[in-house]
């Protein structure tokens, strides 16, 4: 792989990891959703770049799925839910941002120190992608632990799968990458729908949350 092609791939991989850290910083739900959508968009770019440089067209499908589902559809769904359910947009972290950051850096170092010696025989880009991917995949659960909020947990889960897809994209000739990314997306989307959607429907017998406000109106005239 030529110098520039590698540099671009490196840039995109590093951006995915940097955005994972940016995610740990967010105090607002909407901002967190936007960051994870951005991460998915960068992931799509990374997949597309791999598809071009390695001449493996099936990665374009992965890129398209990342872009359509993860960067657009699921974030839009989450935004819609937040509006619909009137979820408060600020999340206070369970423990401090500094501690979270420290842990994040530690986890990243761990991922790199684990992956690099392990993959001594592989290509440069793959080793790097795997290291970044593992770091992202471990930062996702860290986010879930650091913020006890359902929406942030979905965001953390999405970020985790972004990392895994990054790894899968980097592994040369890995079959079923497309299938894996589809099933992840389906899982997230279905579950968000399944839980929130039905929850509301059962509770108020209608999807219209304005009924909730009506009830409050009756109680406090």
């Amino acid at each position: 792989m030529s110098g520039l092609a590698f540099d671009i791939a490196h840039l995109l991989g590093a951006l995915v990891l940097t955005l994972s850290f940016a995610l740990l910083y967010q105090r607002r739900l909407t901002a967190a959703i936007n960051v994870v959508a951005m991460q998915a968009a960068v992931l799509a770019a990374a997949a597309a770049w791999q598809a071009i440089t390695r001449d493996s067209p099936h990665l374009f499908a992965t890129a398209a799925i990342a872009l359509v589902f993860k960067a657009i559809a699921v974030p839009a769904l989450l935004h819609w839910l937040i509006r619909r359910l009137n979820i408060s947009s600020t999340v206070e972290p369970v423990f401090g941002v500094t501690l979270t950051m420290g842990l994040g850096v530690g986890v990243t170092a761990l991922a790199i120190l684990l992956v690099l010696p392990l993959t001594a025989g592989e290509t440069l880009l793959l080793r790097e992608d795997l290291a970044f991917a593992l770091a992202v995949a471990l930062l996702g659960p860290l986010l879930m632990i650091a913020r006890r909020n359902a929406v942030v947990q979905v965001v953390g889960f999405m970020s985790m799968e972004n990392g895994l897809i990054l790894a899968a994209v980097g592994v040369k000739g890995m079959p079923l990458v497309v299938e894996a990314s589809v099933s992840f997306s389906v899982m997230v989307a279905t579950f968000i729908f399944g839980v929130f959607f039905f929850h509301i429907r059962e509770r108020f017998d209608s999807l219209d949350v304005s009924r909730l406000e009506e009830m409050q109106g009756e109680r406090h005239p």
């Binding site: 540099d7 840039l11 590093a14 910083y25 941002v97 500094t98 850096v105 440069l124």
Partner: protein
């Protein structure tokens, strides 16, 4: 002969131009807010006015209080002279990035001690905040320096400038280091969102609170030091991240181009800073650690990415 001339320009030009830069930023900010703003040369007039005035000292002020402004300005000035603003030749000072960071730290310590010297509450408050920021900003700066040193295999600025101007490809690490240094610079020079140089509101001021006791020529020196520090950070960022056009030898034509480009870079930096400050709100004091933590994180990530890509190659 040329070497001497270069040294003189290196030493004198920043001190002469720094108030102009400050004036320019104030002017642009005022224009952006729809005001006419003070004239460009107003900072010179302010400094001259302060120089003429007699400093008023508290009766319990010690020699440290009187000496600190001179020491602080001297340290900043020396650091400024070590930056290859328009040429990489003949600085002869042997000061590298770490020494520059050290000199800036020294200036801060002097002012902090002076701030506590008189024992007023504002001095102590300002000092405490300034030191908090410093304690967070310095590690971030050092980590960013480390990233740069890994790229150039040197911490000397002329080497760095040369190495980076030759092109090192697309480096995400450098972008992160740039982010870290810019954030540190904003904190260190007391700009929005960390501090507001135009306010004397006791709840929010940092630097201004620390030097509230100063007056007359002492204050002039401190103000000049602050202006110089701003010019220093802008020049530092310019010489590392936009190393184009910096003269590599003592050819008069190259020197002239270097000088002209430097002035342009300073003006562009000032413009960017003014636009940014107008667009953003000041942060709460409690958020400083997060802001500077992010700078530190950028530095660390930059180093990590660089480590990986160099380790692999």
């Amino acid at each position: 002969m040329t070497a001497l001339a270069i040294l003189v320009v290196q030493l004198v030009a920043p001190a002469v131009l720094a108030p102009l830069l400050t004036g320019l930023i104030r002017k642009i900010k005022a224009r952006l807010l729809g005001r006419r703003g003070p004239p460009l040369l107003q900072p010179y007039r302010d400094l001259a006015r302060l120089m003429r005035k007699e400093p008023i000292l508290a009766h319990n002020a010690s020699w440290l209080f009187r000496g600190a402004p001179y020491g602080a300005l001297g340290a900043v000035w020396l650091a400024m002279a070590a930056i290859p603003t328009f040429t990489t030749v003949s600085l002869g000072l042997g000061l590298d990035l770490i020494a520059i960071a050290g000199l800036l730290g020294l200036a801060r310590i002097l002012l902090a001690l002076a701030g506590m010297d008189v024992g007023t509450s504002f001095g102590g408050l300002g000092t405490s905040r300034e030191m908090t920021i410093g304690a967070l900003a310095e590690p971030a700066l050092f980590i960013a320096i480390m990233t740069l040193a890994l790229v150039a295999h040197s911490t000397a600025l002329p080497d760095l400038t040369l190495a980076l101007s030759e092109g090192v490809g697309l480096r995400v690490s450098l972008a992160l280091a740039l982010g870290a240094i810019v954030m540190v610079a904003m904190a260190e020079t007391g700009r929005i969102p960390i501090d507001n140089p135009a306010t004397h509101l006791e709840l929010t001021m940092v630097h201004e609170a620390m030097v509230l006791e100063y007056s007359g020529r002492h204050l002039a020196l401190i103000e000049l030091g602050a202006m110089l520090k701003l010019a220093l950070y802008l020049s530092l960022i310019a010489c590392i991240f936009t190393p184009w056009g910096i003269a590599r030898d003592a050819q008069p034509a190259a020197l002239a181009i270097g000088l002209g480009l430097w002035l342009l870079k300073l003006a562009a930096g000032g413009l960017a800073l003014a636009v940014f400050e107008t667009a953003i709100a000041k942060m709460r004091v409690f958020r400083y650690p997060e802001f500077l933590g992010a700078a530190l994180l950028f530095g660390v990530l930059g180093t990590v990415f660089l480590y990986i890509s160099q380790h692999l190659k």
